[in-house]
């Protein structure tokens, strides 16, 4: 039988053990909580940087930037940018980017979307760790290679070379001639990490076929259209058909709103141009109004048919604006 003294000593040790465990538990909880807060704070800081980039893109065109951020994995979806559990939702975001941007640097590019008047700015974001392989011998292939920032990890080939795996987290093929045989060296990579876009068309308009790796071959996901170099670049930067279509739909929504304003503005210019030398201007405005109405109707939805209408009307409208300039009329845009 345990005597009274021995019981007291044992109880003391049990008490110390419980108190010690409580103290350790307390500090462990504090440290874990603090770690989570710190991680979330870093993610929020990166997201704030992305937000600032998106704001900046709206106010500056034809710029390219290389921005340093804490190393993170940024997920870009239709109208949503997220880093882990921290995300920001946008209703009409125009951001062409791969679905995953990895690393501690971002490369951003902005271009104005003009048809032929500026409707909005397009923002492109990607990572220098993502590998772009451009293959083509046409003028448009060379032009696109020149238009993509030099800071990118891009390779330009006139014909299909032997592709080696250089351990990039994602590889994007940009093909201008024919679809190439799937490179053997990339067969072991996950299917979602290797994608391709095949361009059929010129600087003005055309189609973009979205491919993805499936085992050791390519599978065609879907085909979309582009209008102008700006949206063609969008098809290159977006690695999924859905992301590209979503962004282009948002671009068209904005084009529709801006066109409404130009339609009303041109009507007012017409009303004011009724005397003397202004009568000639009236004809240009009248022709321009027809083209603007055509763009307005076609910008209701993003489709190949509407792109053809907008491209044709944009050319005619540019001609009418030139005529207005020649005859010293107030310009249409």
């Amino acid at each position: 039988m345990i005597n009274k003294k021995a019981f007291e000593i044992q109880f003391n040790w049990i008490f110390v053990l419980v108190a010690g465990a409580a103290i350790i538990l307390f500090f462990t909880v504090v440290v874990i909580k603090q770690k989570n807060v710190s991680e979330t704070s870093t993610k929020a800081t990166v997201l704030k940087s992305v937000e600032a980039i998106i704001t900046g893109a709206g106010v500056s065109t034809d710029t390219t930037n290389r921005i340093g951020i804490p190393s993170s994995d940024i997920n870009v979806d239709c109208g949503r940018v997220s880093i882990g559990e921290v995300s920001k939702q946008y209703q009409n975001l125009i951001l062409f980017a791969p679905s995953l941007i990895k690393g501690d640097k971002l490369i951003t590019q902005t271009l104005a979307f003009s048809t032929p008047y500026r409707a909005t700015n397009l923002l492109y974001i990607t990572s220098p760790q993502l590998r772009y392989i451009i293959i083509g011998n046409s003028e448009i292939a060379k032009y696109i290679n020149k238009s993509m920032p030099a800071e990118l990890k891009k390779e330009f080939y006139k014909s299909a070379p032997e592709i080696k795996n250089s351990n990039n987290y994602r590889i994007r093929f940009v093909l201008f001639d024919n679809i190439i045989a799937f490179p053997k060296a990339l067969e072991k990579l996950p299917d979602s990490d290797v994608t391709a876009v095949k361009i059929n068309g010129d600087n003005e308009k055309g189609t973009a076929e979205f491919y993805q790796k499936q085992g050791s071959s390519w599978t065609l996901k879907d085909t979309s259209s582009y209008i102008g170099k700006q949206s063609l670049l969008g098809a290159i930067y977006s690695d999924t058909f859905e992301a590209y279509e979503c962004n282009m739909q948002n671009v068209f929504s904005r084009l529709n709103l801006v066109t409404k304003i130009y339609v009303e503005r041109t009507k007012r210019l017409m009303e004011g141009a009724v005397t003397g030398s202004q009568i000639r201007c009236n004809q240009f405005y009248s022709n321009a109004l027809t083209q603007l109405n055509s763009i307005l109707a076609a910008s209701s939805g993003f489709s190949r048919e509407n792109i053809n209408v907008i491209a044709a009307s944009a050319n005619s409208l540019a001609g009418e604006n030139k005529n207005a300039q020649i005859y010293s009329c107030t310009l249409i845009y």
């Binding site: 704030k48 704001t55 032929p116 801006v258 304003i261 300039q325 310009l331």
Partner: protein
């Protein structure tokens, strides 16, 4: 009282004081963090206000252009007349860009005029910033420039 009981009482007292000190330290830490968050929140609001002002200044819906070349700090009056109705009709679309704000263009010369191009306010705001930007007001019909002020009032919860 037995010796063991006194020892346990001492240990409890030490632990009590220890935890009191921890709690005081923790309260101080929370206070410092809260102050930092408030400062950061204020800075963020100011930054967002500047962002909104920039977005408004560069809206193709109101900006002047000559053969698609943008003229800085210039607002086209003809565009402005229709932009205010279009932006009101599509308030939800523009909320994404302009959030809770009130945007007015006031013409000072020649004559006085006022356009309210966007207004979406909230009652329970915690901070408010007003940005005034002097702008040139271009009337394409008469090809004359006027002078005005673009007032952007931004509200944040």
């Amino acid at each position: 009282m037995k010796r063991a009981q006194i020892q346990i009482g001492e240990t409890i007292a030490v632990l009590f004081v220890f935890f009191i000190l921890i709690i005081i330290g923790f309260m101080f830490y929370v206070k410092v963090i809260k102050d930092n968050i408030d400062i950061e929140k204020e800075e963020m609001s100011q930054l967002r206000s500047v962002g909104i002002s920039q977005r408004i200044m560069f809206l193709p819906e109101i900006q002047c252009s000559e053969d698609n070349i943008i003229i800085d700090n210039c607002i086209d009056i003809l565009k402005l007349d229709y932009a205010q109705s279009i932006m009101k009709e599509n308030e939800i679309y523009y909320y994404d860009l302009l959030e809770f704000s009130d945007v007015n263009v006031v013409q000072i010369y020649p004559g006085e005029a006022k356009w309210n191009i966007y207004s979406r306010k909230t009652e329970d705001f915690s901070s408010k910033f007003v940005t005034n930007v002097p702008v040139s007001l271009y009337d394409p019909a008469s090809r004359k420039h006027g002078f005005g002020v673009l007032t952007i009032e931004t509200l944040f919860k």
